[in-house]
């Protein structure tokens, strides 16, 4: 070893004074921004101690009726991708967030931020795609807003949608109901959306066409609700993938999650792309998959219901909820060992080699 070697370390970057991309990446930085800024200010510190765990949409009492309410903003690039477009995504995303509270989605708003110079023809295709998706999901787009920004101030088109749904009587689906012994299921194979987007964006070529899984899940959820109170919690898998969704639930419900790696479905093309890029498919984005926590005695019934449904694509039981290691998602590998499936700080970055 050279004489002059020193034990080196950079000065830590203590905090960020400006917004970083990782603040929107679905990982830990985003969770902190939400918890420490948005929730802290909007809900007040006293209430914060007692608030129920955050969910994809919030359920409000409106004179006896229970309304689920949510909003989501869509900034995908490219606007058109294999298996969908930003319009389909904007409807499915919000409809799915409502469905995860057990609600029947009813009404959506649509806000458009358009960049000067954006082709009207592309906008027409996107709006028609929104309407088609809304019709098949049984929702109506009933209000909206349009703003145009200078060329260079927007990435072509941003869409915000907000949605309202009605939660049927007797339905209570939330992280608070998750308990040790529950079985964890996914509705299909993972990672298609993220890899499809990446392959278009980066010009990567993979064997066999890979399409986004972008789809409405509300009919699937309506079918799953037939098992009644046994359906404890639902979460659609979006940014941050399965890992982010289960970490949020484990934290919110103060339970542990134990997964069997071999049971988690991943298509060979997705697995291959992830191997090549040094990505973990359990962190890759989805737009038409959900994870369900159900009472053990209803697990097989739910699996059968999912199996017969067109919005599920190879559903599977992938693990269970435990009372140990609260807040932690553990993955049992095929070789017998186990590892932690932690929340990433931001988006996954492809590795060097």
């Amino acid at each position: 070893m050279p004489e002059d070697f020193n034990l080196s370390c950079p000065i830590p970057i203590d905090r960020h004074d400006t917004i970083q991309m990782a603040h929107g990446g679905g990982g830990r930085l985003m969770q902190r921004l939400i918890d420490d800024l948005f929730v802290a200010v909007f809900s007040g510190t006293a209430e914060r101690k007692t608030r129920s765990p955050l969910h994809d949409s919030t359920v409000l009492d409106a004179g006896g009726a229970r309304l689920a309410f949510t909003t989501d903003t869509f900034v995908v690039n490219p606007l058109f991708f294999p298996g969908g477009d930003i319009g389909k995504l904007a409807v499915c995303g919000t409809v799915n967030d409502l469905a995860m509270s057990g609600a029947d989605p009813k009404w959506l708003s649509a806000g458009f931020i358009l960049e000067e110079g954006f082709p009207i023809e592309a906008l027409q295709r996107i709006v028609q795609s929104m309407q088609k998706t809304a019709e098949s999901a049984g929702v109506r787009i009933v209000t909206g807003d349009t703003k145009v920004v200078d060329r260079g101030k927007g990435d072509g088109l941003f869409i915000n949608t907000a949605g309202i749904g009605l939660v049927p009587d007797g339905i209570d689906i939330s992280p608070a109901r998750v308990q040790p012994g529950d079985v964890v299921l996914v509705s299909g194979d993972l990672g298609r959306h993220g890899i499809a987007i990446m392959s278009v964006r980066e010009g990567l070529q993979f064997e066999g066409a890979l399409e986004s899984d972008c789809d409405s899940l509300c009919e699937l959820v309506a079918a799953m609700r037939r098992v009644g109170a046994h359906l404890h919690c639902l979460r659609d898998l979006t940014r941050g993938g399965l890992a982010a969704a289960l970490n949020e639930i484990a934290g919110a419900a103060r339970v542990g999650v134990e997964l069997e790696e071999a049971a988690i479905p991943v298509a060979p093309q997705v697995a291959g792309a992830c191997e090549m890029l040094g990505l973990d498919p359990f962190y890759v984005a989805n737009e038409g998959r959900l994870v369900a926590m159900v009472a053990a005695e209803a697990a097989e019934t739910i699996l059968q219901i999912m199996n017969g449904h067109q919005a599920a694509h190879g559903p599977a039981i992938i693990g269970r909820i435990t009372g140990d290691h609260a807040g932690c998602v553990e993955l049992k590998g095929g070789l017998g060992g186990s590892r932690i499936l932690d929340l990433l700080s931001g988006e996954q970055m492809p590795r060097i080699c």
Binding site: M1, P2, D4, F5, N6, L7, S8, C9, P10, I11, P12, I13, D14, H16, T18, I19, Q20, M21, A22, R28, L29, D35, E202, L204, A250, G251, A252, R254, P268, A271, G272, E275, L277, G278, H325, A326, G327, C328, G333, G334, L335, G336, G337, S338, R339, I340, D342, L344, S345, G346, M349, P350, R351, I352, C353
Partner: protein
Amino acid sequence: MKYVDEYRDPQRARQLADSIRRTVTRPWQIMEVCGGQTHSILRFAIDESLPPEITLIHGPGCPVCVTPIEILDKALAIAARPEVIFCSFGDMLRVPGSEKDLFTVKSEGGDVRVVYSPMDALTLARKNPEREVVFFAVGFETTAPANAMAVAQAARLGIKNFSILVSHVLVPPAIEAIMTSPDCRVQGFLAAGHVCAVMGMGEYEPLAKKYRVPIVVTGFEPLDILHGIEMCVRQLEEGRAEVENQYARSVRPEGNPAAIRQVCEVFEVSSRKWRGIGEIPRSGFQLRSEYEPFDAARRFGVDQITADEPAECIAGLVLQGQKKPHECPAFGLRCTPERPLGAPMVSSEGACAAYYRYRRRRPEGEADER
């Protein structure tokens, strides 16, 4: 998945672990050189299947982790310039320099882009003739051929607005530095299969002889690593110190002659600083004088930037295999992937990050704070 699943077969893994258990009679310390191997070991919990006699020491083979802070400061200075499109592999973006990282430069308006190959950066240079495109050429021997090819092509095509910031390091000098350290605990090496696929095995023979240490060229899948360990343990138990090839499906003894030719045409061996270790003579590449016009450090006048690396974390000890990541008092507390104190916490190949991701259990209380 074909060509992957067969190297992750649980039954075969158990057989190899059993064979290691039967072979071993006393404690051995084996270093896997490459960060990709460290990642696999932690991801598949390979170390948990080994008998207690075997200790795996995680080596300095993560390019992100050993890139010295002053090169990062040079990268940050170049990336902040308005005329520059700065291209990098994704996992360099979060590595802290003295004051910031590339993500921060990007949020401040720098044009920083993730690419998958230096050839992508060359394409960007051709598409944007009015901009300066700089590629951050980081890595071991594995990434050197493609980086050399990009520079050679730029020269041939007369592309003037392309340059690379070179931070290339070499495995054999690092093995030598580790073996000559007075605190060296390593008794056997798993050499990095991909590096040898390029450079061949010839450089390792003199090392094995001189230091009486077995070196097994090893792949990256669980069965590769277990097999490499088995071969290494067998040598240790039999008192042999040879270079063996576990990864024969990819590595030929002579390496890849075409790739070596390309590398030697563009690069020459030079001294390099290693983060956490210091300067090692003849341990890296620099551009040959005829390719100096493509040296971004010269082109943008950042040659003079130097940076001291304040001693806070124990990255140096971790990279030399003298400490495990979780033995650092800052691990998981003051040092996390969001706020890394040292580079091994940044890259997913870094030993600290691998431990953080796969081994750390969140403290029970943390869920309550949310």
